[in-house]
Subunit: 328 residues, 2 copies
């Protein structure tokens, strides 16, 4: 009996979840829900229904886990609490500063409904967060470093796209190489947000748009750009298609710390990702957490969870016996 | 109210746990238990009692978690089930092939007593196992690689020390550099156990011992050496003290895998450790899992657990709110 998956939103992330579900024999994609015209949407997996999001009112008997693939700026703050009141849900909410309020809203709805909502799944927040937690728990005396890129940030690109006059955007996050080397050398540098990364935006503006105003709107956007040195390039649609069609990403989480009665021994823990496709990798993480949401709910759990609250074994299709025999 | 810790066995690992406990304000080392003469043992932390292991029969009101710091070959298979019947326990059992039977024995004892026993904590098994599980759950179509070293394996050194005629041993595990490079290059090589690592032993033999017999006993030892190319050097006690006093280690877990409707995008997940002191790092992992054992038991859990069964949040001294606000 497969775990029946629904997807709301069929952009890059929705398609990434779709291809991830296809790799997991115990998961089955049943329906893609859209807020647009269902007749206009063609999904790549055979036999999958496309329905209007309004149909979610009455699909509880056909979907075990609903995966919310909207954006963090405006979609998920509304959608995740709403649908956590009807379904087990998973999202990839990635506005770090607003996670506590998002958690509270989803928790209230999911608890009332007896469902599980796992928020902020992906690689950051997600796998990077997990590695920060594990490394901090092991080495309480130490320093954390997270570097992203070089790669395209979907959240930041989406945020720019929502600025009036912007037709398209790719935002690249780029580590400051000297900072990364200092960390790996064990120098434990103190680095401001600005000293660690630069942000580079390639923007297609609508005809007649005020590009100076767009550039200011980007550079001053709270949470996303205000704390960084950002460069903005206005390019044509042709240049965008030719030079910026991929969605690679990556990065690393490093913690350096000491042990011993006098802190005499040093340790370096590093977790790194090199990703050809950010949305497909994020979708793959989400698919594993969809399995966890279903299992935890079947065992009686309810409320909002994050990657911190999910025992790793729930993510794997293998049994406890198989995991202990082969992966431990 | 601190979590009260007992340690059984005060070798390298016991001392590593001691220094880790010292870094965690919510943990307090109360007693070191020894099977030798307690009067002969001096611990480095002020105010810690040293008692005979036989006193463990009646210390349940003074110890919240007992950490078992013996060896995997003969100590832990007996000790962990025995004491899981009286205490929450944590061990670092690292004979991969015998984990299923060890789990079963600890599970039966811990369930009967209403205690939690977390086995096989450390970095491998332990953090490396976790990273194998997470990476497999995310990228079901891919390949796993684990490389160790260059570093001293305590388990392998202990195993050699138990051979009659051996006075001391340091065993270095060394990755085969060409194999590691091929993996990082994304070549997905098929590698036998022998093609990935070599093992190098520095042995101090007792006077008059049959070194040829010792060398054969090492090279043919199942699980530990039989599947590797092993070199054995006999050295003096002075050479051992001069050249091999540290216990560095490290290594990496790499999974390469594909996503997409046709597997068209490749990803590399790598977790790596550079450790000045293997026993102190292992002790630091164990200390975090001792916190988890105590908390899970307080919530009503019992039975044997591994790192796969422990939700990450249990490892951290921070609350869920703090973790979500600062680490997610």
């Amino acid at each position: 009996m497969s775990i029946r998956i629904g997807i709301l939103g069929y952009g890059n992330l929705g398609r990434g979840v779709e291809s991830a579900v296809r790799q997991n024999p115990d998961l089955e994609l049943k329906v893609v829900f859209t807020r647009r015209d269902p007749a206009a949407l063609k999904v790549r997996t055979e036999g999958v229904k496309v329905l209007s999001a309004s149909e979610l009112d009455h699909m509880q008997d056909e979907i075990d886990v609903l995966i919310l693939c909207g954006g963090s700026a405006t979609d998920l703050p509304e959608q995740t609490p709403k649908y956590a009141g009807m379904y087990n849900v998973v999202d990839s909410f990635d506005t770090h500063a607003r996670i506590p309020e998002h958690f509270a809203a989803v928790d209230a709805a999911a608890k009332a409904a007896g469902k599980v909502g796992i928020i902020s799944c992906g690689w950051d927040p997600g796998m990077f967060s997990l590695n920060r937690l594990y490394a901090n728990a092991i080495l309480p005396q130490g320093q954390d470093y997270t570097f992203w890129g070089k790669g395209v940030s979907q959240g930041h690109s989406d945020a720019v796209r929502r600025i009036p006059g912007v037709k398209d955007c790719r935002q690249y996050t780029i580590p400051v190489e000297a900072a990364l080397q200092a960390v790996r050398n064990g120098e434990n540098p103190e680095l401001s947000t600005r000293q660690k990364h630069i942000r580079e935006c390639f923007v297609v503006a609508e005809a007649g748009a005020d590009t100076a105003r767009i550039e200011t709107a980007i550079k001053t956007m709270p949470n996303y750009f205000a704390d960084y040195d950002t460069t903005v390039h206005f390019i044509t649609e042709e240049e965008m298609a030719r030079d910026h069609s991929g969605l690679p990403h990556g990065g690393c989480v490093i913690r350096t710390g000491v042990t011993g009665m006098d802190g005499e021994n040093q340790h370096v823990i590093e977790y790194s990702l090199k990703l050809d496709s950010n949305p497909e990798f994020t979708g793959a993480v989400i698919a594993a957490y969809a399995r966890a949401a279903y299992r935890m709910n079947r065992e009686g759990a309810s409320g909002c969870k994050t990657v911190f609250d999910v025992a790793p074994a729930y993510l794997s299709a293998q049994s406890g016996e198989e995991l202990r025999a082969h992966l431990l």
